[in-house]
Structure formats: C-alpha cells, structure tokens
Subunit: 183 residues, 2 copies
C-alpha cells in the first residue's frame, strides 16, 4: 500500500535541454524540462514554454527551434539559462556559447552541445500555464566522436536528467530494448 | 563543428514508465518512453501510444490511465511489458504485479511501482504513428519511505531513464534548480 501524495508534476526522470531559437537578427536560449518525444514516424517532439518567455515570442514568430542535449560540462549553462531572461541578456555571450549554423532551420544551434536536434513547429496547443509546440525533427547534428559513420552513439554517463527539482547524472546501461525477449 | 546525422527521435534521456489502464473488467499495462510533463498548473503530462496497442483502446474508452515510475527492480517488467501484447496476456499476472486501487481514477495502479500518477485525459492529438493523450494529473501515491510527511522525495540512483534504445541508471544529484543564482 502506497501513501497518497498531492497531484503534482511527478514524472521523472525527464530530459533537461537547452532550446535555442532565432531569426538571424535576434536569438535566445531557454532551459526546458517540459519536453518529450511524441511521435516516431515522422520523428517529433514537443516543448512546453510559458507565454512570458522571450523564447516563446521568437518561436511563435519563426516556427522553428533547436533542442540541444546537455552533457555534464554544460550543467551551469543549463541552470543559468533557466534563471536569466533573454530580453535583457544575450545568453550566447553571457555563457560563452557559440552559434552554430543549422542545415535545415534558420535558428542557431549551440556548438558546445553534443547533439542538436532541428525542429519545425507543426502544431501549437494552448494549455493553462504553458503552450506546447509540437514539432517535427527535420535534421540533427552531433559531435564527431559521437557520430562515427553518421550514426549517433551517446556514451553512458554523459547526459543530465531532471528529477523533481534536481539535475542528476545518467549512468551505466542496464539493458537494451527487447532484452527480455531474447534467449 | 558538428557532424550531420539523420533526423530521428534523438531526444535523451527520456522517461521509461509503465502505464496501467482499465475499467474494472479489463486492464492492461504498456511500456511508454514517449511521455513528458507538458504543463505546470494544473499539472499535466502526455503519453503517445500507437493505435494498434490494446492499451490505446482501453484509454480511448475510459479517458484515464496511471503513470507508474520505474525503479531498477522493475527493469525486466519494464522491458517485458513493451514486447508482449495485453490482448493475449494478463500482464499483471504474467509479471507478478499487484493491482492497486487509486483514489481518483478507476484505472488500477501498479503496487510494486514506487510512484503512481493518476491521470485523466483532457485532449487527444492525432499524429501519424502515435496518438497523444494530454492528461491532467489528478492524484498520486508513493511508497511510504519516499513520502514522509506526505512530500515526495525520490532518492538518487533509483529510477531508470531511456537513452536511444538503452535503459540506463540515473545517478547522483549534481545541482538543484537555481543553484547558479545563489551566492
């Protein structure tokens, strides 16, 4: 028998990523944990953003954004981009990040992120505190040593996850999909 | 400069959870990694399910489901519930799981899961390979030693995350939200 607790955003672990956006003139970065894969074919993900965010304005206008995965060396940037507003601050400059040109969207990727996922918004869903952008993944890039032969391999122990209000390490692989069905 | 890779469902780490559903007569469990928190107030999450899944039928009919978080002792169940169909098999029985009554929905929770999140569907979004259920979290329960004083505390190192096609451990806390803004 479990103990009743209050209804809350208990899902865990969730991703913690840096979302970059821009139209060539303005650009911004926002930390997002309210994100997930939503469709396999075509590949799609969603991000949920508060209407007051500077990034919300930019993404609403451009219909594009880039999801940049976060390895442990970017932990301070991950937290910092969640507590500073891009209206007053150029976050690329403040956090010494490099804009990287994308092949399929005009929004900049973050060069220092190990994997950047280029997204085009297909649908917007208005919720109460947040707006969801449902987006198709139209391209991607990864650091060279994670993408040998053009195939992504994320090493164990690199990425950050978010559990309650904490950033946690990811660790070793304990199984691969379908392992219980193999003899 | 990063290397271009194919557009794919690269977001990682993502959650890996057991979703239970039922109407009192039939019930099922399905493994879901395409899930995420989508709204803070009210608390909401989404799950994406293939139309061919038995759970899809049940959730479409009942408008309810329970997201059960997965700790390492449930790893084989997590994988097994993703590769077996509930049409032929009672997964509670097959995997020696116990139906637990929920306070706010008729769907059963999984007693062996450390945290169960009770959800009511508010909106259905039809995508190509999957259908998204956008749901409000209306209740929750947790094992007693994770819920002292009614407040959830998930210990480090317990939950499983999903990275590419691999189940990985979560590890130690490396920071809490806002830590870079504190002096």
């Amino acid at each position: 028998m479990k103990t009743e607790i209050r209804a809350f955003t208990h899902l865990a672990p969730v991703p913690a990523v840096l979302v970059s956006c821009g139209d060539g003139k303005v650009s911004d970065i926002v930390t997002i944990a309210w994100t997930g894969t939503i469709n396999s074919d075509p590949p799609m993900l969603s991000i949920s953003v508060r209407r007051t965010r500077y990034s919300y304005e930019i993404i609403s206008k451009t219909g594009e954004f880039v999801v940049n995965l976060v390895s442990q060396n970017l932990l301070k940037v991950l937290d910092g981009c969640g507590v500073v507003s891009g209206r007053d601050t150029d976050k690329f400059e403040k956090f010494s990040l490099t804009r990287e040109k994308c092949a399929h969207v005009a929004a900049p990727a973050i060069a220092e992120s190990p994997v950047s996922i280029e997204c085009v918004v297909r649908q917007k869903v208005e919720l109460e505190s947040h707006v969801m952008f449902l987006a198709e993944i139209v391209g991607a890039s990864a650091r060279a040593d994670w993408a040998e032969g053009g195939k992504l391999h994320i090493p164990d122990g690199e990425l950050i996850a978010y559990v309650q209000n904490r950033y946690v390490k990811t660790g070793e692989t304990v199984g691969t999909y379908g392992f219980t069905a193999k003899k």
